[in-house]
């Protein structure tokens, strides 16, 4: 009864099978390649930096701290790209969340006169409400992105280009274009610059968030459906998956993560900085794509994204330490990105031929 379905392709030494095995080996190699690239950077920078300063625990901690926010954003962006979506608005949502969170925090912690003198009688209330507002604001923007994309069928590129502009514009309106001042130093002192076992709380936050997303993507039904939607929304819908709801939830999740990053940012810098995060979207997309996530959806691994997220800060930090102009970081990063896209194209071409 097996006519046709196991013709030459399944026999032991057919060229097709050999080709597939070769390909499988190559793709294992690809993630190995990423680890090797990052490893090589570390080794080279350690050798070239004065007295191996690059590999000191202080410097590693500093790189990890610089990467913590972008790591959270990259992990979320990667999930969206796996589902064949895109979110350009993340940086603006971070700014909006941090602004409304910081405003709430300052407003509820004490009267304007008290706050101006850095006295905060209702600090706990202020921080709780500020964090909640920031996270919910992020979630809200994410849901807006998701609803416009899923319900109206507007391409996510356009939707999030719009919210990118609106969110940061509103943040500027709220603050009059200024950073939010008078934020209680307690937030920075406890969470923003605090450590546990020598690892900053902000880095712990990133580890926990990325860990949860990793498990979500690899081990759960939610993750499987994310891949399926990216591979073919039509196939997913016909398999009984609620594609719209899933898409909305993905953008909502991304917004929530941006809200969390807004809190991290306020805690780290003790201000809601209105002019930062303009490059976050491109950095996060770059991290995902360098990590092997296909912009056409359906493919991507969290480990690759994590490595991809570490590369920019590692390059920047290393170049500074070995005395190379940091501008070269952009040149190097762009080259790695193009290489990653090239590999993805090759893979798709191979898939079509096979």
């Amino acid at each position: 009864m097996n006519i046709g379905t196991h013709g030459s392709a399944s026999s032991e030494h057919s060229p097709a099978k050999q080709l597939r095995e070769l390909a499988a080996r190559f793709f294992k190699l690809e993630s190995a390649l990423l680890v090797a690239i990052l490893g090589a950077m570390i080794v080279i920078f350690t050798i070239l930096s004065p007295s191996g300063e690059f590999f000191s625990s202080g410097n590693i901690r500093s790189i990890a701290l610089d990467t913590s926010e972008i790591l959270v954003l990259s992990a979320g962006e990667m999930l969206i790209i796996v589902a064949a979506g895109l979110d350009l608005s993340i940086g603006s949502v971070v700014v909006f969340s941090s602004v409304v969170g910081a405003k709430t925090l300052v407003a509820l912690s004490g009267s304007p006169a008290q706050v101006a003198q850095f006295t905060y009688p209702h600090l706990a209330l202020g921080i709780t409400a500020g964090v909640a507002v920031a996270v919910l604001a992020g979630l809200g923007w994410g849901l807006v992105n998701g609803l416009l994309t899923a319900k109206w069928g507007v391409p996510p590129f356009i939707v999030t280009l719009g919210t990118l502009s609106v969110a940061v514009g509103l943040a500027q309106v709220i603050t009059g274009g200024l950073n939010v001042p008078n934020i209680p130093p307690a937030l920075q002192n406890s969470y923003g610059s605090g450590q546990l076992f020598g690892i900053p709380w902000l880095v712990w936050t990133a580890i926990i968030v990325v860990g949860i997303l990793w498990v979500l993507l690899e081990l759960t039904r939610y993750g499987l459906h994310t891949y399926a939607i990216g591979a073919s929304p039509e196939a997913a819908r016909r398999a009984g998956i609620n594609v719209r709801l899933h898409t909305i939830s993905l953008y909502g999740l991304m917004g929530l993560l941006a809200g969390i990053v807004g809190v991290m940012d306020v805690a780290r810098f003790d201000t809601a900085s209105i002019f930062a995060h303009t490059q976050d979207n491109l950095t996060a997309i770059t991290a995902a794509v360098i990590g092997g996530t296909s912009l056409f959806g359906g493919r991507g691994r969290m480990l690759g994204t994590v490595i991809g997220a570490f590369i920019p800060a590692t390059l920047r930090n290393g170049f500074v330490l070995i005395g190379v102009e940091p501008f070269w970081q952009n040149v190097a990063l762009g080259s790695v990105l193009i290489t990653a896209v090239y590999i993805d194209q090759m893979r798709r071409r191979r898939a079509r031929i096979a």
Partner: protein, 261 residues
């Protein structure tokens, strides 16, 4: 041919579906009995695909009555039809190309781990692989590997995966939209044999769309012809011939007259 029972499993009467100003179905009738393979034929644009999409919950009709086991049924989504025991193999396959065979067979119906983690939707890949292997073995389908994306399989192998998925989950009705249109003769014979197995071994009723009249005579118990979105003929396949079907399809002569819409 195989004796079919007379019990009506699915009945559709006066199904109308408009897409803007274009009428895809203008009062189509269809009746599927238990344990039969029922071919659905008609020219391009006759409304065959639209009609089976109504049965599979993919399209919601504007008018008409759909009954399963004599009871009115309304499918708002593919999931509703699946719950009613109806599985569909679409013309354009509908597999998730980057997922492997086992995941595709279980997509939307994942097996979960035991224990509290199941509540969080943790999937059991090993169990799904095992179950997929069993299903494929039962249907006599052999694949080079379970763990490669289905995009790396041949066209025939992908079709086999799609059929296996439908046969694995279908409890009542298996719908196939041009299941062999893109296949080589050997693979065609195999897919047609899968259809017979679904009927004989699993007791399913099968609806299949085909452009190929020899396949209709080879594989079906009854045949229905659609023309311009309306049903023009339903007959036991053994009691008709190519000439009559062609006449019905092209409308040169109405052999049976239209059932009341």
């Amino acid at each position: 041919m195989n004796p079919t029972s007379d019990k009506v499993l699915l009945s559709a009467r006066g199904i109308v579906k408009n897409y803007g100003h274009v009428q895809a179905l203008g009062g189509a009738n269809f009746e599927l009995r238990e344990h039969e393979i029922h071919a659905l034929v008609g020219d391009n644009g006759a409304g065959k695909s639209t009609l089976i999409k109504v049965f599979s919950g993919d399209v919601q009709p504007d008018e008409g009555v759909l009954e399963i086991d004599g009871r009115p049924a309304r499918f708002a989504s593919p999931r509703d039809a699946q719950v009613a025991g109806i599985e569909t193999v679409y013309q354009d396959l509908a597999l998730a190309s980057t997922l492997d065979t086992a995941m595709n067979i279980h997509l939307g119906r994942e097996l979960l781990v035991r224990g509290p983690l199941a509540k969080l939707g943790f999937i059991n890949r090993r169990a799904m692989k095992r179950n997929a292997a069993e299903q494929l073995k039962e249907l006599g389908i052999e694949l080079p590997s379970f763990t490669i994306p289905v995009s790396d399989l041949s066209g025939g192998q992908r079709q086999a995966v799609a059929v296996a998925r439908a046969a694995a989950w279908g409890r009542r009705i298996l719908i196939m939209d041009e299941p062999v249109a893109a296949l080589a003769p050997q693979q065609t014979e195999f897919v047609l044999s899968l259809m017979r197995r679904a009927r004989d071994d699993r007791g399913l009723a099968v609806i299949f769309i085909s452009h190929n009249l020899p396949h209709v005579f080879l594989a079906s118990d009854r045949v229905t012809v659609l023309r311009h979105g309306q049903t023009v003929l339903t007959k036991p396949t053994a009691e008709t011939d190519v000439e009559e079907l062609l006449r019905a399809m092209t409308g040169i002569m109405n052999t049976e007259g239209r059932a009341s819409a």
